[in-house]
C-alpha cells in the first residue's frame, strides 16, 4: 500500500469509532453511504480497471439479498451462514454468464446487464417461493450491537472492497485487467487470457455486490423485487463513480459519500421534489464531469 492508500485505510478503520457520537439519523446516513461505497468500489474493479460498465450490477445485489433472505426464511439458517452463501451464489452466477455476456462491449454490455437486472426482478415478482411482488419479511435482528451491527457490516465490506481495489491497482493480476481495459485485442495477443480475467473481475464485482445486498436485506428486514432490483440504485453507483473518479482507489469512496450526503440534504430540504432534483443532479454531473475522468 502506498502512503495515501494507507491513510484511507486508517480513516476507514477510524470510522468504526464514530457510532457513540452519532444520532440515529446520522448513523443511518453513514450506513447508507458505506453501502453505496461498497457497491461503487465493487463496480470500480469492473469499470475502472477492466473497462466494462455493468449498468445492471444491482442484479447481483438482488441475487445476494434474495438468496440470503430465502436461506434464513425457508431453511432457517442463521444470517452469518446465509450471507456468505448469498455472496458466493451471486459470484458463481456471474462467473457462469460472464463468458457470453462479456463478448459485448460498451453500451451493449451495459444495457444487457440492465436487461438481466430487470428480468430477474420480474422473475422474482412472478415466482411463488420468492414471495412474489409482496416480498419477504425477515425477523428483526436482536443480538450484540443492536442495529449498529449493520453499520459495522457495511464498514467491513467497504474495507474488504477497498483492499481488493488496492490489490488490483498494484498486482500483476491488476495489470491483466488494465491491459484488457486499454486494448483487449492487444492484451490477448500479449498472452493475457482475456475471457478468464474478465470473468474473474466480473465475479469479484458480483461477490461484493451480492454481500452488500445480503446485509441490506437483513437491515431493512423487508425485501421486495422493486427495492432489491432498483434501477435507481444502479445509476447512483455510476454517478458516485463519475463524481469521485473512476479507476482510482479513493474515487469511489469520495463519490459515494458525497452523493449520499447530497442526496440526504436534498431529501431533507425538498422532500416533494426530491426525484426531480435527483434527476437534475444526475444530468448535471454527467455534463460537468470533464471527458477524461471516467478513465482517470
Amino acid at each position: 500500500m502506498g502512503k495515501y492508500e494507507r491513510l484511507i485505510f486508517f480513516l476507514l478503520l477510524a470510522m468504526g469509532l464514530l457510532p457513540p457520537l452519532l444520532t440515529d439519523y446520522w448513523e443511518r446516513v453513514l450506513t447508507l453511504s458505506l453501502m453505496l461505497s461498497s457497491l461503487s468500489l465493487a463496480q470500480n474493479i469492473l469499470l475502472g480497471y477492466t473497462g466494462y460498465p455493468a449498468f445492471g450490477c444491482v442484479a447481483f445485489f438482488g441475487i445476494g439479498g434474495y438468496t440470503t433472505a430465502l436461506l434464513m426464511k425457508d431453511l432457517g439458517l442463521p444470517f452469518w451462514v446465509s450471507l456468505p452463501i448469498g455472496g458466493v451464489v451471486s459470484a458463481l452466477f456471474a462467473l457462469l454468464i460472464a463468458p457470453p455476456l462479456m463478448r459485448l462491449k460498451s453500451h451493449y454490455f451495459a444495457i444487457t446487464t440492465l436487461a438481466l437486472q430487470l428480468a430477474l426482478g420480474e422473475l422474482v415478482a412472478n415466482l411463488e417461493f420468492t414471495g412474489g411482488a409482496q416480498g419477504i419479511n425477515l425477523p428483526i435482528y436482536v443480538g450484540p450491537g443492536g442495529y449498529l451491527i449493520f453499520f459495522y457490516l457495511f464498514l467491513l465490506l467497504t474495507i474488504f472492497a477497498f483492499l481488493l481495489n488496492v490489490y488490483v491497482e498494484r498486482s500483476t493480476f491488476g495489470y491483466a485487467l488494465k491491459a484488457i481495459r486499454e486494448d483487449e485485442t492487444a492484451a490477448e495477443t500479449m498472452g493475457v487470457n482475456t475471457v478468464l480475467f474478465k470473468s474473474v473481475s466480473f465475479s469479484m464485482m458480483a461477490l461484493i455486490t451480492g454481500l452488500s445486498g445480503g446485509v441490506y436485506a437483513y437491515w431493512i428486514t423487508y425485501i421486495d423485487p422493486t427495492s432489491m432490483f432498483d434501477p435507481l440504485l444502479s445509476v447512483k453507483i455510476f454517478v458516485a463513480l463519475l463524481l469521485g473518479g473512476v479507476g482510482t482507489v479513493a474515487g469511489p469512496l469520495l463519490g459515494a459519500f458525497t452523493l449520499e450526503f447530497l442526496s440526504e440534504v436534498l431529501w431533507g430540504r425538498f422532500p416533494k421534489v426530491h426525484g426531480v432534483v435527483l434527476g437534475l443532479l444526475i444530468v448535471l454531473i454527467v455534463l460537468i464531469i470533464p471527458r477524461g475522468i471516467w478513465r482517470r
Binding site: S106, L123, A125, I282, V286
Partner: protein, 291 residues
Amino acid sequence: MGILPQLILESLLLGTFYAFMSLGFSLMWGVLNIINLAYGTYIILGAYTAYTLYTGLGVDPLLSIPFSFLLGLSFGVLLQRVLIDRVMRLEPFMVLILTFGLDVFLSNLLNLIFRADIRSIDVPYAERSFVIGPVIVTEVKVLVFFLSLLLTGAVYVLLQKTWTGRSIRAVALDREGAQIVGISPGKVFAVTSGLGTGIAFSSGNLYGVLQGFTPFDGGMLTVKAFLVSIVGGLGRVESALAGGLFLGFLEVFTAFYLGEGWKFFASLLVMFLFLLIRPRGLLGGKYYGEV
C-alpha cells in the same frame, strides 16, 4: 382453436402500434448510436399532452397528434443541442446515464404536476366495438392500428424520398462517408433527434387512447422500444415493423397462456437473449459494439 384468430388479430393490431411507437428509438439508436433511456417517458409526455388538451380544451387525442409531434420535435432538437451533443463525444455509455437522469427528472416532474394516479383519455367512442365473424375488436384499437400504419408509412416516405431522409440514412450507414459528401452530422443528429422525439410524443397520443398511464410507465415503454429495435435491427422502417409485430405476438400470447404478470418478463428475457446471441437483430443491420 376458437380463441386463436382473436389472439392473432390482437397481436397484429398491437404490434403495428409498437412498430410506430419504437421507430423514433430505433432511428436515434441507428443514426446517433445512442440508447435513449428517457424514450419511454417521451411517449408518456405525449400521452399527458393529449390528456391535457382533451380535458382542458376538448380536443380529440387523435386530432392533436400533429401538435404532439411538433412539441416533441422542438423538445428533441433542443435536448440534442443542449445536452446530448455534448455527452455523445464521450463514451457511449455516458449517454445511458445522462438519459437515465433525464428520465428520472421528467417522470418525477410529471408526478409533481399530475400526481401518480392512473389517467386515461376517455374518448366517447372508447366503448364501441366491431364483431367480425369469430372475433371482437374495439373501435379504438382499429383506429390506432390504421393511424400507426399511416404514420409509419409517412416516416418511410420521409426517409426514402426526401433529401432530409436520405442524409439521415447516409449518416446511419456511414458517418464519415456522409461527411465526405458534404452532409453535416451535427445537423442530421438534431433532425433525427427531433424526428424521433416527435414520433415518441405522437405515439403517446395513441398510447393514451389505448390504455391508462401513470408518470412512471416510461421505463417499461423504453424496454419495449428497445426490444422492437434489437429484434428487427436498427434504423429501418421495415425492421421496426418486424420487431413491432414480434413484440405484439409475444405479449398477447404470453399474457393469454402464462398470465399478464409474465408479459414483461418475457420481453426482458427475449431482449437479454437477443443481445447475448444476436446483437445485430434478426434481419441483420448495424452493431456498434465492435467498433
